[in-house]
Amino acid sequence: MPTQLESDVQTSEDAFRTEVRQFLATNFPDELKGTGNMMAGLDGPTDENPVQKKWREAVGGRGWGTPTWPKEYGGGGLTKGQARIIEHEFAKVGAYNPIGGMGVMMFGPTLLEYGDERQKLEHIPPICRGEIRWCQGYSEPNAGSDLANLQTFAVDKGDHYLINGQKTWTSGGQWADKCFAIVRTDRSDKHKGISFMLIDMDAPGVEVRPITMISGTSPFCETFFTDVKVPKENLVGKEGQGWTIGKRLLQHERTNISGGGRLAGMMGQSLGDIAKKYCETGGDGALVNKVLRDKIADLEIRWNSFLLTARRAVEESKAQGGVSEISSVLKKVGTKLAQDRSELLIEIRGFQGLGWEGDEFGNDELEDVRGWLFGKAATIYGGSTEVQNNIIAKRVLGMLDHQ
């Protein structure tokens, strides 16, 4: 028998589910069924059509794109249970969440934790409505894995900072409205000399140059700052607190890279099923090339245990009320498996899996080639695999510093 409390929760969840279904019936247009949220991707500017815009406004207006964020800042103010209901009901009718991007995945949660009241009121609501695109000003030419070595400098000019320097790998920089950046305010201390600031991308002195990647796309940019004025109220936290805040934001990024829907989506179709289309099968439907078949099975077994690990990390975090130590391995394992999968896909398709362009190639084939190339970045960004290994060894396993 459920307790009174449990049955109250059940009743209110049922009522909420009905509300979500009614909302979808009224607002979600059939023509958007199965399409994706362009704002969540890195690959292009969006010329939103009116139908997409209306859908974004409908979801953003209720704060349902960021369901668990506080209502006073434009979020949904909902429980995790209700957020799951939204996710399920949206998925059931093929509706995407139109609110996404770095503002939702990384910056928003960090600002909610570290921002002051005025900053939250200014920046969170436009993220919830999907109106502002944020980019990340972290890496520099000489600050990659050694991120704290960053040199972009902000001089205190009384009511504002004057920023000079260069950022790189600025994802989506050419389309972004604003940039959350870590910059140096003190050269005497490597970590405590870093501050977290918000920069307008259309401010005078900001110049963005897209970088063409081996995949042929330009999702990353170099961003140059020449005497850029940043008002003092755009400092998040205190001067010198930037490393702490910046690292917290990276935790959100890692969770997204590893456990997020992107990887799960990439792994949609079974490699075995794909192989059956490209390679010879015997009378029993099994692949004739036993060596290839064995490789596919090996990868898919490991991929399955990765999915189980991601699920376990969520369950443990919920039960413990904190981040499970398992999550430290998710990025490292997930990105490696995704790369292995892309390589195996090429072996399965042969030359047909190496197409650069042309009508003779299917869209999936061409996309997978670009994905294979772009996927090489996954073990580098968000803390390279080598950095992840350092973190696991020192923080989880308690092995001492190697320096």
Binding site: G272, A286, L308, T309, R312, K332, N389, M399, L400
Partner: protein
């Protein structure tokens, strides 16, 4: 670690406590030194049965606690950590066969005896050096079973065998027509070839056509639980060692080459734990058992293989000595890897289950 109920946590803690205090690896050394073919301490097994561990998957009506496979796995994992030599896993596997395929009378007769520790039982399937349930020649006519089974676990202590014949599984009691030839394997536990020459056999009539496959899946997840405990123990011991051993005026744990290797093994161990626990849970839920069990054992094989090798390498020369325990884990690891499906066998099975 899967999220556990309060009862499961208590069970796990009790098993951990007992294994650490009453059954450390030094107990296995004593068993080895005694040189008895059954290769376990009967008093220790009686104590385990007394604590209810043999009856974990057995219904209460038959003298068990009906706590399920995840719970059984928790205990088996703890015992695996200290290489506790006992017929607990073998008997639990045999009990699962009787549960799935036995008649009410067979269940009522055997399950209480298994749960109480009075009877040790084991599963005998393979007839050669590899797991191959498709190559069974053993046959039964007029209630008499004839055939040869190879490398049967815990055969010396067992008085009841669950034997795979061409047309299904049979219960055979040790006695007339059953003769054992000891096979000493590297793990120095009990293994034997068994010759059945017209031994009295009683069929497990239930469970349908998939009975043998279903029982093997249960054998896979239970063995994988033992392997998980072993992998965890080797990992923990190795990590402790790296934090103590000094060379070049530095503790080994400060060398980045070793840190990254341990980070890799930690990730592997995390994957293994997820797969093994999910396999045990799948048996409890009855959903997707074949696939989950295959993944569980395949991951257990892959990861324990790597960790047992790295355990030796990272210990250096001392890991090669009989005085150190890490070598025992290596030797037991390979025997369990070969049990109920090697890595290549399991990948083949996974591909077949997935339709390619």
């Amino acid at each position: 670690m899967a999220v556990l109920s309060e009862e499961q946590e208590m069970l796990r803690n009790m098993a951990r406590d007992w294994a650490t205090k009453e059954s450390p690896v030094s107990e296995f050394r004593k068993v080895r030194a005694a040189g008895q073919p059954q290769a376990y301490n009967a008093d220790a097994y009686a104590a385990m049965a007394e604590m209810g561990w043999v009856g974990i998957i057995i219904p209460e009506a038959h003298g068990g606690s009906d706590f399920g496979f995840l719970s059984a796995g928790l205990v088996i994992e703890e015992l695996g950590k200290t290489l506790t030599a006992s017929p607990l896993v073998a008997t639990t596997i045999a009990a699962s066969a009787i549960l799935l395929g036995g008649s009410d009378a067979q269940k009522a007769k055997w399950l209480p005896r298994l749960a109480s520790g009075e009877t040790v039982a084991t599963l005998a399937v393979d007839e050669g050096a590899h797991c191959d349930p498709s190559a069974i020649e053993t046959s039964v006519s007029g209630g008499k079973l004839t055939g040869k089974k190879a490398f049967v676990h815990e055969a010396h202590g067992a008085s009841l065998f669950v034997v795979a014949a061409k047309d299904g599984l049979y219960l055979v009691e040790k006695g007339d027509g059953v003769s054992l030839t000891t096979r000493k394997l590297t793990d120095q536990r009990s293994h034997a070839d068994i010759q059945f020459a017209g031994a009295a056999a009683e069929k497990l009539e239930g469970g349908g056509d998939s009975l043998l496959g279903d029982v093997l899946d249960r054998a896979r997840v239970l063995s994988a639980a033992e392997m998980l405990g072993m992998a965890q123990a080797v990992f923990d011991t190795t990590l402790d060692y790296l934090k103590q051993r000094v060379q070049f005026n530095q503790v080994l744990a400060t060398f980045q080459a070793l840190q990254h290797r341990m980070a890799d093994l930690f990730a592997d161990l995390t994957q293994m734990r997820s797969a093994v626990e999910a396999g045990l849970q799948a048996v409890d839920s009855g959903f997707g058992v074949a696939r989950a069990a295959t993944i569980a054992k395949a991951e257990a094989n892959r990861v324990l293989h790597a960790i047992s090798n790295q355990g030796i390498q990272l210990h250096g020369g001392i890991g090669m000595t009989d005085e150190f325990n890490v070598g025992f884990y290596l030797k037991r690891a390979r025997v369990l890897e070969a049990s109920w499906g090697s890595s290549s066998y399991l990948r083949d099975r996974f591909a077949r289950l997935s339709g390619y």
